[in-house]
């Protein structure tokens, strides 16, 4: 048997007795042969390490999937906002002469609940979850009453949205003025709805200022369209 076949049979575990003796003899007497076998054993280890690392990367990915059950609020809303704003802006191009409150009507669409996705059939809901469920179901009075007691910007934002849904624009404006917008994942969208609410109240200059602030957010995926809207308001 040639040397290469001996090495193959060794790794396959198919050496018979006489081949085993031949293999061992070469291993002890021929340093070149011994080094060849050693280097193949190292290769075996290197491949094993690589394969184990590959499997482990998959397991770590499964672990990450469990830790991250849903995309970030901002990402999910960016997608929703893309559809929302594209529709709105398209309509808007055809309605350039509309009065501010009519523009509001064309722009405004109910903002989806991005904070507290609900699992249907859940029992023993806390107040906040109940409030978001009310918002989802269009019970804006109930949602506004609960959420106006919130201490966080996101809860207050949805309270303001509920007031807008109810046509209580002054209430909504007061809530927008009280909430600390900066730093929230929903910051650009808070500014967007704040501007729309100001537009509805005919507070055009403030709406323009709010849109200008929103333009500073270079990451906002529809920033160009916000700029166009602001310019149209300034015409």
């Amino acid at each position: 048997m040639d040397r290469e076949s001996l090495i193959i049979a060794y790794f396959e575990g198919t050496l018979d007795e006489s081949e085993q003796l031949e293999f061992e003899k070469l291993l002890s007497e021929d340093p070149g042969f011994a080094e060849e076998v050693a280097s193949r054993n190292r290769l075996k280890q290197a491949i094993r390490q690589e394969e184990r690392a590959k499997i482990k990367r998959k397991l770590l990915a499964f672990e990450q999937e469990q830790k991250r059950p849903k995309p970030t609020i901002r990402k999910r809303f960016s997608i929703a906002a893309a559809f929302l704003l594209m529709g709105i802006v398209t309509i808007w191009w055809y309605n350039q002469e509309q009065a501010n409150n009519k523009l509001y009507g064309k722009y405004y669409e109910t903002f989806p609940n991005m904070v507290q996705p609900l699992v249907r059939g859940e029992n023993g809901l806390d107040e906040r979850t109940q409030a978001f469920r009310a918002y989802d179901e269009g019970s804006y009075r109930e949602a506004a009453d609960f959420l106006s007691e919130s201490t966080d910007a996101e809860g207050l934002f949805y309270a303001a949205l509920s007031e807008m849904e109810l046509g209580e624009y002054d209430e909504a404006a007061a809530i927008f003025d009280s909430l600390d917008i900066s730093g929230s994942d929903l910051e650009p969208f808070m500014l967007w709805y704040k501007a729309l609410n100001l537009l509805q109240l005919d507070r055009k200059e403030e709406a323009i200022r709010t849109l200008t602030e929103l333009e500073k957010d270079a990451d906002f995926n529809l920033r160009d369209k916000v700029i166009t809207l602001r310019r149209k308001l300034q015409d």
């Binding site: 290769l43 290197a46 491949i47 094993r48 499964f62």
Partner: protein
């Protein structure tokens, strides 16, 4: 064929969904089981992952084709020895445990440390797809050349042998340049 063997066969075919199923099914039970050994959560999770890696590796090598027990039993048996090894590594006093004979050769022992191996691993990764596949099937999955010939559709064993030799030569050349 039992449900357990169906899963093992899917793992052998590199079915990630089956791997995910095994990983998720036994995870909580393994964590609950490991608490009594006093390992921290990160260590337990790491040991669990290494255990599933060992399960997957042995399935691919064909060591589990005749598995008589449930997959969970196998995972807990292997996992227990991995916990002992981790406790030893963390220098904790532990009762001496012998690895049962039926688990020897199941890749439970840790990797050897040889400084040449990381370079070899890099060179291996730089090879073409065919070479990596042939070498992985032969050295990792421990398949015989006859099986690899059928699996990869080589005309005959000699063609495969010369392909394998070419791959090894490429590996040596790329190592000598480093």
């Amino acid at each position: 064929m039992t449900q357990e063997q169906l899963i093992i066969n899917r793992i052998k075919e590199h079915d990630d969904e089956a791997l995910r199923q095994v990983y998720n099914t036994h995870k909580q039970g393994f964590i609950d089981f490991s608490v009594r050994f006093g390992l921290g959560h990160d260590d337990v999770l790491d040991v669990y992952q290494d255990t599933v890696v060992a399960f997957c590796e042995n399935a691919r090598k064909g060591h589990l084709d005749e598995l008589q027990s449930m997959i969970s039993t196998y995972i807990f048996a292997v996992g227990k020895y991995k916990i002992y090894a981790r406790l030893k590594k963390n220098r904790r006093e532990i009762p001496l445990q012998e690895l049962p004979k039926e688990l020897s050769g199941h890749g439970i022992e840790e990797d050897e440390q040889d400084e040449r191996i990381p370079l070899l691993r890099q060179a291996f990764l730089a090879l073409g797809d065919k070479c990596r596949e042939v070498l992985t099937l032969f050295y990792y999955e421990q398949k015989k050349l006859d099986e690899i010939q059928k699996l990869m559709g080589y005309e005959n064993k000699d063609v495969l042998k010369s392909q394998k030799s070419r791959c090894l030569r490429q590996l040596k050349e790329s190592l000598s340049k480093k």
